[in-house]
Symmetry: C2
Subunit: 196 residues, 2 copies
DNA sequence: AAAACAATAGACTGACTGGTCTACTTTAAG
DNA sequence: CTTAAAGTAGACCAGTCAGTCTATTGTTTT
């Protein structure tokens, strides 16, 4: 009943189109066309467009969490260096997509939070999971004496995630990673520093 | 030919609906309905939905710039206090709209930057004008010895704007101003500080 | 082999989209 | 008073939307 190549193809095509155009601007027919699946199959696997959208979010979150673990919980690398690699990966991806795509979760958060509570809850959960990864990494950094956390690890993680998401948004409208670089520079220069 | 109450009503209703639902999710008929204007008038004043959207952006940018000037260029108030008032106003507005609306320019930047270069350029211009207001205020702060700018005023302004926009986005999905508070706290505690 | 079910296939529906069209009313100029 | 233009009014259009429907094909289970 579950896992199927057709279902996967639908989700992958959907993720790509939604990343590029947003949720509302992406029609089901467009998804079907790009992966050559008939409409009957779509409504066999998903009960509605919303159901489909939630599946796209879930799949993306799982995949993304894997790379997040690989980058931020790599105990062979100093915690701050892990963060730098995370930012570098984000910048690289921004180049790859020609500054057009950005972060799927951020995009949908902006577009759908005010539209549907179901979507908002799902996206909020993903953000919270990401913040936890940051918290973990920040605690490591403090334990090793690399930084002094002057608020709470949670507040600092929130600061980093929101700043990064904002930088991605700005990078899209500017078509340049410059805002991402500025964020990273000031973050490491003034926020992620040892106690004075 | 120009200025008209009908045109204004259309733009105001459009701004409200687009703020709440986004651009793609807001139909022209919905705008007409909420302000009781017939379609003939709409296409008398605007050549297309895109033309209308650009007018909404322009109007919003002008209005918002006025409050930005009032807050950030008030020379009777210390520069950092001006910034604090700006953030407080943003938080207050977020409460008023029940964490649903956020920033119109940020929303559209996320939704339309990858979709239309015309929109992207218009939104980018608005962001750049805002950054200039921050630059001005930051220079004042440095001149008065309140802060030490360790990068450039432009980079710091970019950092503040992107961080704030990201915090607004996160506040929407979380339905709480907490991320905005965290951003402000850490910003004033570790970034906007005098030279050591 | 037969029955049951999963999956594929796409024509079709009503509602709605942005946009056009013609007709009418108001305003301003000559 | 006449005439031209600005603005109002809404029926209408082709296209698209998410979603439904019936029919058919594959694959198990019995």
């Amino acid at each position: 009943m579950k896992n199927n190549a057709t279902r996967d193809k639908l989700i992958d095509s959907g993720a790509q189109l939604i990343s590029q155009q947003g949720y509302n601007a992406t029609g089901i027919n467009a998804v079907l066309k790009t992966c050559g699946v008939p409409k009957g199959s779509f409504y066999h696997y998903f009960s509605s467009k919303e159901d489909f959208g939630l599946a796209v979010i879930e799949r993306f979150a799982i995949r993304y969490d894997e790379t997040l673990i690989a980058l931020l919980e790599d105990s062979d690398t100093p915690p701050l260096e892990r963060l730098r690699r995370y930012f570098a990966a984000g910048r690289e991806y921004m180049h790859e997509c020609d500054h057009a795509t950005g972060c799927l979760i951020g995009n949908l958060g902006q577009e759908l939070s005010g539209q549907s509570d179901t979507f908002r809850d799902a996206l909020n959960l993903v953000f919270q999971r990401w913040e936890q990864r940051f918290v973990h990494c920040l605690n490591d950094a403090q334990a090793q004496g690399d930084i002094a956390i002057r608020t709470t690890p949670e507040a600092l993680a929130s600061f980093i995630l929101t700043g990064w998401e904002g930088a991605i948004l700005r990078a899209k409208t500017l078509k340049s990673v410059e805002p991402m670089v500025h964020f990273e520079t000031i973050l490491f220069q003034q926020v992620l520093v040892p106690s004075p």
